[in-house]
């Protein structure tokens, strides 16, 4: 069975002028210099105000008008339908089936990238939101009243989305592995999971309301919405407008479980990058331990990988909490809970940096497949050529290993500098004296350096 190498599609030894570990030292120096520059030059919070202003009237209203919403919703539902049909009826070869690349590459990786640039582009295309809103409109037309919903348990916050995020990645990189050999996810299993998820999501939307569930529990909305907070476009009062980049992120993490979502993103990406590299021998030892005790091989591997995903989550959480705990030592510090929530948004650029660093090459290469042979032959039967591109392929020369490495390093450095900037800006809210604010960020600097070096280590081991 062929498989999609999701973790690091195309990696090779790079031709670097200096050892890879020196890049970690260089990145750390960049972070330290940025920290001192922020301490000296950035003395007032600048991101607390989003500074939204509408785009031109026609454009601002047109892009978010009801007809545009309906059209985007129809496109979303149609594409989900195609993916489900391809997954259920198409070939079992993951690399020839439209479903897997569409769900796990084009959607799962594409929306974070574009959301971070443009804002919440997933929202209008969200097929479950479109279906639920259509059902709600139908109910109103028949019953003459709005459907009643249960009050959402506010303590749950975004925890359902955090758990769901881990589950989505688990399905791809843990359930998709069996017998000690990575074999990628069976498209039929992916489509079945998507069907189950659709039923669950529509039920939750009916129970708690479409927008409430999208804001808190719908995995894709919450996950892509998180990255969209970095983007420079947002909708307010039914109008599309321009806002200060990064500023919207400062108000995102107020719901419980938001920190868990962003930590889950970093942890799952880290695990995906480490399972064939940095964690390989530890995973093998644990796998053997289970196998030696009579657990069958597939279950042993899934158990082992599940344990390591949870360990990654615990590890990333611990590093973040240490940074937050360090801030408590500064006079005038707010409570630990306030700090824990108040700085969670500073991890969003890091989560994005990890995504870009780990999946940039995979995305570039697989999108060539998506828009050539997978589009023309979505079922992978080799008998269909809808757009005349079925014979297309992937040009692996598009990116050299060295280019990929520099993009990875650049993404990690930029992501962590942005995280540091957001953290410094938030510190100025809690400590109006800029000296105290800077001192409070000593430990966040250590967190950022740790995440940067860890990220580069994972990449260097995987690439090497």
């Amino acid at each position: 069975m062929s498989f999609l190498p999701f973790a690091h599609a195309l990696v090779a030894r790079q031709d670097l002028p200096v050892p890879a570990w020196l890049f970690a030292w260089g990145a750390s120096i960049v972070l330290i210099v940025s920290f001192f520059a922020l301490s000296v030059a950035w003395r007032k919070p600048r991101f607390e105000e989003v500074r939204w202003r509408p785009l031109g009237a026609g454009l601002a209203r047109g892009l978010v008008s009801a007809p545009a919403q309906v059209l985007c919703g129809l496109i979303g539902v149609f594409l989900l339908g195609v993916a489900l049909y391809a997954g259920l009826r198409g070939t079992e070869a993951p690399d020839r089936n439209f479903a897997l690349t569409f769900l796990y590459v084009t959607t799962w990786l594409g929306f974070p990238f574009f959301s971070a640039l443009l804002g919440d582009v997933f929202r209008p295309f969200n097929p479950w939101r479109a279906l639920s809103r259509s059902a709600g409109a139908g109910f109103r037309a028949i019953a003459g009243q709005r459907p009643a919903h249960l009050p959402y348990p506010e303590k749950l916050g975004r925890w359902p989305a955090a758990v769901g995020l881990i589950a989505v990645v688990w399905l791809e990189i843990v359930y998709g592995s069996s017998g000690g050999v990575a074999v990628g996810l069976d498209p039929h299993a992916a489509a079945t999971a998507a069907l189950v998820y659709s039923g669950y999501t529509l039920a939750m939307m009916a129970l708690f309301g479409t927008e409430v569930w999208c804001e808190r529990g719908e995995v894709f909305s919450v996950y892509f919405g998180m990255f969209s907070q970095l983007g420079c476009f947002g909708v307010e009062d039914g109008r599309l407008g321009y806002r200060r980049p990064l500023a919207a992120a400062t108000h995102w993490a107020t719901l419980p479980g938001s920190a868990a979502v962003v930590i889950a993103s970093i942890a799952t990406t880290s695990f995906d990058g480490a399972q064939e590299g940095a964690f390989k021998s530890a995973i093998e030892s644990t796998f053997n331990w289970f196998a030696d005790r009579g657990v069958d091989l597939t279950t042993s591997l899934r158990l082992t990988d599940t344990i390591f995903i949870l360990l990654c989550f615990a590890g990333v959480s611990l590093v973040y909490l240490l940074g937050v705990r360090g801030m408590r030592t500064i006079r005038g510090a707010p409570s630990l809970a306030t700090l824990r929530i108040g700085f969670a948004h500073t991890l969003i650029p890091i989560a994005l940096a990890y995504l870009v660093a780990h999946y940039f090459s995979l995305f570039v290469f697989q999108e060539q497949a998506q828009f050539t042979y997978l589009l023309s032959d979505p079922l992978g039967t080799a008998h269909t050529d809808l757009f005349g591109t079925a014979s297309g392929g992937i040009d692996f020369r598009l990116l050299s290993a060295t280019t990929i490495w520099y993009v990875q390093v650049g993404a990690l450095v930029v992501g962590h500098v942005l995280g540091l900037t957001l953290a410094h800006d938030r510190a100025l809210v809690y400590w109006p004296n800029y000296r105290d604010a800077s001192r409070s960020q000593y430990w966040m600097l250590a967190v950022m350096v740790a995440f940067t070096c860890f990220g580069l280590y994972l990449l260097s081991v995987s690439n090497g």
Binding site: W21, A24, R435, A446, V449, C453, Y457
Partner: protein
């Protein structure tokens, strides 16, 4: 004599850990120095330089 470098690749992670340790050591040193300075300062005085923006 041959240096036992055959397995040095297994310990490359140390080079990635060192910057983190340096930063932590720097933070600890600075924090301790600042605490000492605060303790040594006479009561009621601000041990730090006056912030021009505070005026």
């Amino acid at each position: 004599m041959t240096l036992p470098l055959a397995h040095i690749g297994h310990y490359l992670w140390v080079f990635y850990l060192l910057p983190v340790l340096f930063v932590i050591a720097g933070i600890l040193k600075t924090t301790i120095a600042e605490k000492r300075r605060e303790e040594d300062a006479p009561p009621g005085s601000d041990p730090g330089e006056k912030d021009p923006d505070d005026d």
